[in-house]
């Protein structure tokens, strides 16, 4: 098993004819993802790599039964297209777009609040269930099917971690990049709940970074309600306060968001925290071997 997406996921790509959208659609097809439709307003009726393109997500859902969306729409319009996907009845929305205004995300969060939909991202690499499907931009070949779940706020750092886990002889059930923005659709906790129920997942790697308090909240949740082993890493242990480290969400401000506080909270919850990223693969193997 895996969580959220698998070989039966019927994916619609929003922004399929754009530069990023078209490139990654090809990559996803190569990985074996079932892309059933694309959406670009005004280009309905054309085919992209044999995939029918529609003007609206509603049409893609009605005609092709799409239930997962992957969004590559530029930042000024991305918030609108997340709501479009949710209103059309998509269950899992993966928003890759980086740079969405925060007040647009305030509206999106409010719109999604009472709907039965999971938003992953924005500003994230997406989600992959190795060997089954890839909905996002991560390099497919570094992944291998197996029992380690990965949840991360980062992009390339997640690839580094997955690569090490694979080199350590382990595979992954599902890897999720939840996104580097201050307002994101899902938290560590949302996915920990799913991994807890997924019989295939034996252990979880949690990759956090400075900024916010998501890791502290995850630590409390793990202590109280998570039974599988967790290995954590926090990026930005040496980051200076007040400087935004690339991601809009990665900033130490107002005395909050420091790596040392996150590491302490995780350790107090008996979670193994890897300090030297170079050793992460080995430490995951040690923990999984028990």
């Amino acid at each position: 098993m895996s969580i959220l997406v698998d070989e039966d996921s019927r994916v619609v790509v929003q922004g399929i004819t754009g530069k990023e959208g078209s490139f990654h659609t090809r990559q996803m097809l190569e990985y074996g993802t079932r892309i059933v439709a694309g959406v670009t307003p005004g280009k309905g009726g054309m085919l992209f790599e044999g995939i029918p393109v529609y003007n609206t997500v509603r049409q893609a859902v009605e005609k092709e039964g799409a239930n997962v969306s992957c969004i590559f729409v530029p930042p000024p319009f991305a918030g609108d297209t997340i709501m479009e996907a949710a209103a059309a009845g998509i269950n899992v929305i993966v928003c890759i777009t980086e740079g969405i205004p925060i007040l647009d995300m305030v509206s999106v969060a409010s719109f999604l609040r009472d709907r039965d939909v999971t938003l992953i991202g924005p500003n994230c690499p997406g989600i992959i269930s190795p060997g089954k499907t890839k909905v996002g931009i991560m390099p497919g070949p570094i992944h291998r099917a197996g029992g380690v779940g990965v949840i991360s706020r980062s992009g390339t750092l997640t690839y580094e971690v997955v690569h090490q886990v694979t080199l350590a002889g382990l595979g992954q059930s599902t890897c999720i990049g939840i996104g580097g923005d201050p307002i994101i659709g899902t938290s560590f906790i949302d996915h920990l709940e799913r991994f807890e129920k997924d019989p295939e997942t034996q252990a979880v790697v949690l990759i956090g970074e400075i900024g916010g308090t998501a890791e502290e909240e995850a630590a409390t949740f793990i202590r109280n309600s998570f039974s599988k082993p967790v290995i954590a890493f926090i990026a930005g242990q040496t980051a200076p306060p007040g400087r935004r480290m690339g991601h809009a969400g990665a900033i130490i401000s107002g005395g909050q968001g420091k790596a040392e506080d996150k590491i302490r909270a995780l350790q107090e919850a008996d979670i193994r925290v890897v300090i030297n990223l170079g050793r992460l693969g080995e430490e995951v193997r040690e923990v999984v071997a028990g």
Binding site: E20, F23, H24, P75, P76, E98, G99, P101, I102, L103, V106, S107, A109, S110, P125, I137, M138, P139, I142, S152, R153, S154, G155, T156, L157, T158, Y159, E160, H163, G180, P182, I183, I207, E209, I210, G212, T213, A214, F233, A235, G236, Q237, T238, A239, P240, G242, R243, M245, G246, H247, A248, G249, A250, G254, G255, I275, N276, L277, G278, R279
Partner: protein, 387 residues
């Protein structure tokens, strides 16, 4: 994007939020004429820099006559200002704000920011104004009140009353009215200008019963600058480090740090983690440089050049995990930079991911001298050994 105090106050004035009468000066020669238009003495002289903690660094002074004002302005413009939030070398002051003094009865704190946990703009209010709000939060958290804004309804009158009537003692009706009006206007401009932070510390109640913003801090959401053209024009490039400015022009995330290891990485998380492993290996990074997930050859060349231009750099580590950014693109970008610039320091390269084989081949077949690291630990140890 941070705005200066004088810019923020101009915006406040345009939105009907009371601020002290003031004049901006760029040289001591302008002081006398500026002061003739402001009631006083006393006057307040305030250095205009983005860094916080100005008061503690001597960037805010009360003056009693024109001569004193001229001499304070002269000193501020001449000597770098060192505050708890700047580097030990401090920052240059290019502009000074002169303001009328106020008869202060009470000092309050009013701010608005987006709360991540509730995903809503949230008003923050405290009767402990004039102190650092972080300090208040740490020592007397009960003095900090919050009201989240419902995105559907916007800021409501009851929320302003909840905050204003929390004051002890409760102020007279005209002061309450002045306070709730400021709150309503702040919430409006926060949304209109796509702010990520608006802060008034202190918001003072004068002896005459007015609510006046004695200080003003506005940060505009960088992601919204495409639709905030007026605000974008207020950017002050002088507040940025020259290398940071160049990096910004090429969409590179570059932050200058104190060490001597230049680092170039793709992705913010991996860049932070690379800084951390360099530090663990016993060395200090000279910078944070994230060339982004989808960097072009030109961005790589520029990024590498920025590191080469930093005279403090004694060794360079390139750590790339190819995803969207392919390793062959990286290799070509580095070689292009090396062709145009002399590389006088050791270079360590660690490549992994998409097209790693062709990336390594391109580097090996070039005239570039570099050391190869197999993994992250080795890369950090190698680079630390060079300094």
């Amino acid at each position: 994007m941070k705005l200066h105090e004088y810019q923020s106050k101009e915006i406040f004035r345009n939105h009907g939020i009371p601020v002290p009468a003031g004049q901006l000066v760029l040289s001591p020669d302008e002081v006398e004429q500026a002061l003739s238009r402001i009631s006083g003495p006393p006057w307040v002289v305030k250095a205009q820099v983005h860094a916080g903690g100005r008061g503690k660094g001597g960037g805010v002074k009360i003056v009693r006559d024109i001569e004193e004002a001229v001499s304070v302005v002269q000193t501020l413009l001449k000597t770098p200002l060192v505050t708890p939030q700047t580097t030990p070398e401090g920052v240059a002051v290019h502009q000074v704000l002169l303001e009328e003094g106020m008869d202060i009865d009470r000092e309050l704190y009013l701010g608005m920011t987006v709360d991540r946990s509730t995903a809503t703009p949230t008003m923050i209010f405290s009767q402990a104004g004039g102190m650092e709000i972080e300090e208040v939060a740490a020592t007397t958290p009960e003095l900090i009140l919050k009201e989240p804004v419902n995105p559907g309804t916007g800021w409501m009158g009851y929320q302003a009353r909840n905050l204003a009537f929390s004051l002890d003692p409760v102020p007279p009706p005209e002061v309450l009215r002045a306070l709730t009006t400021v709150m309503q206007k702040i919430s409006k401009l926060f949304v209109e200008l796509d702010c990520s932070l608006v802060e008034i510390n202190p918001l003072v109640i004068t002896k005459k019963g007015q609510a006046v913003a004695l200080d003003a801090k506005i940060t505009i959401d960088d992601n919204a600058l495409f639709r905030q053209k007026d605000a974008a024009a207020l950017d002050d490039p002088k507040e940025k480090d020259p290398l940071e400015r160049t990096a910004g022009e090429y969409n590179l995330n570059y932050i200058r740090l104190d060490g001597n290891i230049g680092a170039m990485v793709n992705g913010a998380g991996l860049a932070m983690a690379t800084m951390d492993v360099i530090k663990l290996a016993g060395a200090d990074p000279a910078n944070f440089l994230d060339v982004g997930g989808g960097a072009t050859e030109e961005m790589i060349t520029k990024g590498f050049e920025i590191i080469l231009q930093d005279p403090r750099v004694k060794a360079i580590l390139i750590n790339i995990f190819g995803g969207i950014l392919r390793c062959d693109v990286l290799a070509r970008g580095v070689i292009e930079a090396a062709r145009k610039n002399e590389i006088a320091v050791p270079l360590i390269v660690r490549l992994e991911g998409t097209n790693v084989e062709s990336g390594r081949k391109i580097l090996n077949e070039s005239e570039l001298e570099f050391l190869v690291a197999g993994d992250l630990t080795e890369a950090a140890e190698l680079v630390a050994k060079q300094v």
